[in-house]
């Protein structure tokens, strides 16, 4: 593998910076079940990092460790050069890590705009009382937050559904709204849990374009889990491959594609 201590330049000319998040020897157990076993990898500034693996490999668990939903049984999470103590998910969010969910978790009864605005909640400093009275700081904050929300809405081309309740939207658009909510938080790292699951080809193409544009336009670091191999290989700069909770490969899409262990995990070999 290339020496990458100072970052690297991708094939399409993007400059990838230093390590922004590092997972060191992470192990996660649920009682006797070992979901993740001694996994280490890093995520660099500005890169699109994919985590792949067969069903039950522990990908979502890994994402949940990054987002603070699970606290690892062993190992350390290093973020921006500092070791991260055990944290609540909202504290992780405040640190600049936003995520979307595999099975969409939006407020169905609220409008798209309101959903996107909830992405700004971590940035709000005014008290609940001043917000209720709509005075002073609350008003200025709301205006600033709305501006960010509107930029995201414009960016993801969902202006036409701004006022539509999320519950009335088709699946593909809901996924986009969820991405919008995550983006509204202006995250340093964006975690996407199967962003293309259940989409048709056209929706997938749109989503790919949005992911690339987000990375390109805002320089957001993106970590994603995805099943569609074509998508993963096209989108990502580096790929971590997991199987049965263990890391079996890590590197550029080409390296991973030619890795024997990875091929075995996907095509299946007899376990003896």
């Amino acid at each position: 593998m290339k020496d990458m201590s100072e970052g690297y330049v991708t094939e399409d000319g993007r400059k990838i910076g230093g390590v922004v998040m590092e997972m060191k020897n992470i192990t996660l157990r649920f009682g006797g079940v070992v979901a993740i076993q001694d996994i280490s990898f890093d995520i660099r500034e500005g890169e699109i990092r994919a985590i792949i693996g067969p069903n039950g490999a522990g990908k979502s668990s890994m994402l949940n460790v990054i987002s603070g939903f699970y606290v690892p049984s062993e190992g350390e999470v290093w973020y921006k050069g500092e070791k991260r103590p055990p944290m609540r998910p909202y504290q992780v969010a405040q640190q600049g890590i936003a995520r979307t969910f595999q099975n969409i978790a939006l407020f169905e009864g609220m409008s798209v705009l309101d959903n996107v605005m909830t992405g700004r909640l971590t940035q709000m400093k005014s008290s609940i009382f001043s917000q209720a009275l709509w005075k002073g700081r609350a008003e200025a904050e709301e205006v600033a937050n709305r501006e960010v929300a509107e930029k995201v809405i414009d960016f993801l081309e969902i202006q036409h559904i701004r006022k539509t309740p999320v519950g009335r939207l088709p699946y593909g658009l809901k996924k986009r709204v969820e991405l919008a909510r995550a983006l509204a938080a202006e995250p340093t790292i964006l975690l996407l849990d199967e962003p293309m699951a259940g989409m048709n080809v056209e929706e997938k193409e749109d989503m790919c374009r949005f992911i690339l544009d987000v990375n390109d336009e805002f320089g957001t670091t993106i970590a994603l889990i995805e099943h569609d191999m074509g998508v993963v290989m096209d989108l990502s700069d580096r790929v971590v491959v997991m199987d049965y909770g263990k890391k079996i490969g890590d590197g550029s899409p080409d390296e991973v594609r030619n890795n024997k262990e990875v091929i075995d995990a996907y095509l299946g070999v007899a376990h003896d």
Binding site: R146, I153, H160, R209, D213, D216
Partner: protein, 656 residues
């Protein structure tokens, strides 16, 4: 105002009109665009500054007088400014259809030899870059929305705002040059070049002079008493002559405000927020709106439904009369006023038509029921007949004389005559200068005296002076027995049914007429849902026996109505087929303005046409389709052919 007066005022070009507006109406809004959820606006004074900065930037980039600058994108103030900035520096703006594929663009860009292109976003930039190797004169590309373009090679690529900034920075250096060019602009200089959508063959570049545009804008504005207080919504393609006249010509002449929607998908919401006073739409938009209203009424509560139907029936009876200022009884007036409060007013508000003073529809014939629906609500919807070569206006309905079956009287300054074959000819100050680099076509369209052939067959009603259009002159043919064949006439009757999106009638030189029919997915889909008919695809719905039956009913009704006119009774549809796919511009079956390309359809589906005439019960066919991204695929289908009942033709009368 006399013909020469605008000349005497020195208003010989759009930049001159801009200067007048910026001085006289400095603080009035000139443009609005919804962005980031808010209507952003620019006054005439600000507009003049923006345009000047861009014009200086264009000189800085090396634009020469006489250069062509292509403009591609959705309706945005910045792109309208580009057109005027181009004129200011002595160049010719050429707006292009933004949904054109790269090859179509390559032809137009190559034909006019555009040195500069101003594009809206990445999608348009990509198309130009794709074909730039075929273009010898092309040099610089300016883009508006930087999204996704960061990594592109910027040696010939410039961001719009940067060009403006460079223009501002170089103000002192170039302002004299700009003023000199601006003052040189003459009444007979080219104002704009618009490519016709090309129902047949390659698009032709129609050259319109300042005289054409300004005279036409003035005449038409006076005809409809347009003021600088109007608000219009600009959402129709910028490459279309109508948009150029409404959003640029008339807007600059009158000094009214042009509003641009946030995106194509938000048009209906934006329409409602702006509430235009002067509105223009092809029949399709009115049809869609009416269909949506009807669908929503189906789902409304009993009381609302009853009120709606009761008052709409009353409106149909007296609404148009009240609108035309004809005598109506007091009781009917009172009831209409009550209906206005309870039904018509709220409905107009929902549609975004509360403030419409003048509404126009053109491009295609509109269904009389649709037309009457809007007029009965008190919306002054009128018909217009025009074409690019006439700078839009040939005829229009004057207020108070509106009828669905005519296209109105000649617009001010327009003379009409009917040729021997029934073709309509016109002459007006709006008649185009020439087709660019195509003297043969110019000569065959416009004669030495300035009469222009419309290509449409029609006649002038003697008692009212209204023009009635029957069909395209070249489509009007003869059946085998010598009787008149006017396919468009029948197609329009078919298309007036909400369930039928498109129809193509064949029969020239044959014994009987047959038809292709496209169902309207939203209308038929809704009907299917209400009648518990399941379907998985357009194709499946299109060949459902119940749908076939419904369409057959429509065809037979049309036959009855066609048979009433002895001249056209031969055009009754004997056999028809419901097509398995929508006719589509991407497949070349229609123009970008959604007119059917008859010859191409005939060639492409010759197997189905053969089956329509050889008496078979069904036909299997494979059709090639083009997806939006240019890839090709094919659809296989077996289509049922149905016979429709026809009324007996009174041959005795026709033969006389």
């Amino acid at each position: 105002m006399a013909q020469t007066q605008s000349g005497a005022q020195g208003l010989l070009s759009l930049p001159a009109l801009l200067h007048r507006n910026a001085t006289q109406y400095a603080t009035a809004p000139a443009y609005r665009e919804k962005e980031f959820g808010i209507w952003q606006s620019w006054t005439w004074a600000e507009t003049a500054q923006e345009i000047e900065a861009l014009a200086l930037g264009l000189i800085n980039l090396g634009v020469n007088e006489g250069d062509f600058i292509a403009i591609i994108g959705r309706n945005r103030p910045y792109l309208y400014w580009s057109m005027v900035a181009a004129q200011m520096v002595g160049a010719v703006p050429v707006p292009l259809y933004q949904d054109a594929v790269a090859e179509e663009m390559a032809y137009v860009l190559g034909h006019c030899g555009a040195r500069f292109v101003i594009a809206g976003d990445q999608e348009q930039v990509d198309k130009v870059i794709e074909v730039q190797d075929q273009l010898h004169q092309f040099e610089h590309l300016i883009y508006l929305d930087p999204r996704g373009l960061r990594k592109y090679d910027h040696s010939h690529l410039h961001e719009y705002s940067h060009v403006q900034n460079q223009g501002r920075a170089a103000h002192d250096e170039y302002i004299n040059e700009l003023n000199a060019r601006r003052e040189k602009l003459d009444y007979d200089d080219t104002c704009v070049m618009l490519y016709t959508s090309g129902t047949t063959g390659k698009p032709k570049g129609v050259v319109l002079s300042n005289r054409n545009v300004i005279e036409t804008s003035r005449n038409s504005a006076e005809f409809d008493h347009l003021t600088r207080g109007e608000d219009i919504l600009s959402y129709l393609p910028m490459a279309w002559v109508g948009d150029f006249i409404f959003s640029v010509g008339q807007a600059y002449w009158c000094g009214f405000c042009v509003n641009c929607p946030e995106s194509a998908d938000t048009m209906m919401t934006d329409l409602r927020e702006i509430g235009p006073t002067y509105f223009f739409a092809p029949p399709r938009v009115f049809e869609t709106q009416l269909t949506n209203v009807m669908i929503r009424m189906e789902d409304a509560g009993k009381l609302k439904k009853a009120m709606f139907h009761h008052f709409m029936a009353h409106a149909r009876k007296v609404g148009p009369k009240i609108l035309d200022g004809k005598p109506v009884g007091l009781w009917d007036r009172l009831k209409y006023a009550l209906g206005m409060g309870l039904v018509y007013g709220p409905l107009k508000d929902t549609l975004g038509f509360s403030r419409v003073r003048v509404g126009y529809t053109a491009g295609e014939a509109i269904g009389p029921e649709i037309f009457d629906f809007y007029r009965s609500l008190g919306i002054n919807l009128k018909q217009l007949y025009g074409q690019t070569e006439a700078t839009v206006f040939i005829t229009a309905h004057p207020d108070g004389e509106v009828r669905a079956d005519t296209v109105g009287v000649p617009s001010p300054g327009v003379e009409l005559k009917i040729g021997e074959n029934g073709e309509v000819f016109y002459r007006s100050p709006g008649v185009f200068v020439e087709y660019y680099k195509n003297p043969e076509s110019t000569a065959s369209t416009k004669d030495a005296e300035g009469w222009v052939a419309t290509g449409d067959a029609g006649f002038i009603e003697e008692d009212t002076g209204h023009l009635r259009i029957i069909d395209r002159a070249k489509d009007v043919g003869k059946m085998a027995d010598g009787s008149l064949f006017a396919p468009k006439y029948v197609e329009n009757k078919l298309k007036f049914y909400p369930n039928i999106l498109e129809a193509v009638v064949f029969g020239n030189g044959r014994d009987e007429c047959t038809a292709f029919i496209n169902i309207d997915l939203s209308a038929v889909g809704n009907w299917a849902e209400r009648n518990n008919i399941g379907y998985a695809s357009y194709q499946e719905l299109a060949r459902h026996p119940k749908v076939m039956e419904m369409i057959q009913g429509h065809v037979e009704e049309v036959n009855r109505s066609v048979a009433e006119d002895p001249m056209l009774a031969g055009c009754q549809v004997h056999r028809f087929v419901v097509l398995h796919k929508e006719l589509d511009a991407d497949d070349g079956e229609m123009t970008r303005t959604r007119k059917v390309r008859r010859r191409i359809v005939e060639e492409k589906y010759h197997d189905i046409i053969t089956a329509l005439y050889d008496g078979s019960k069904e036909v299997s066919t494979v059709t090639e389709v083009t997806y939006e991204d240019g890839r090709k695929g094919s659809i296989r289908a077996t289509l049922e052919i149905r016979d429709a009942k026809v009324m007996p033709v009174q041959h005795a009368m026709a033969a006389e």
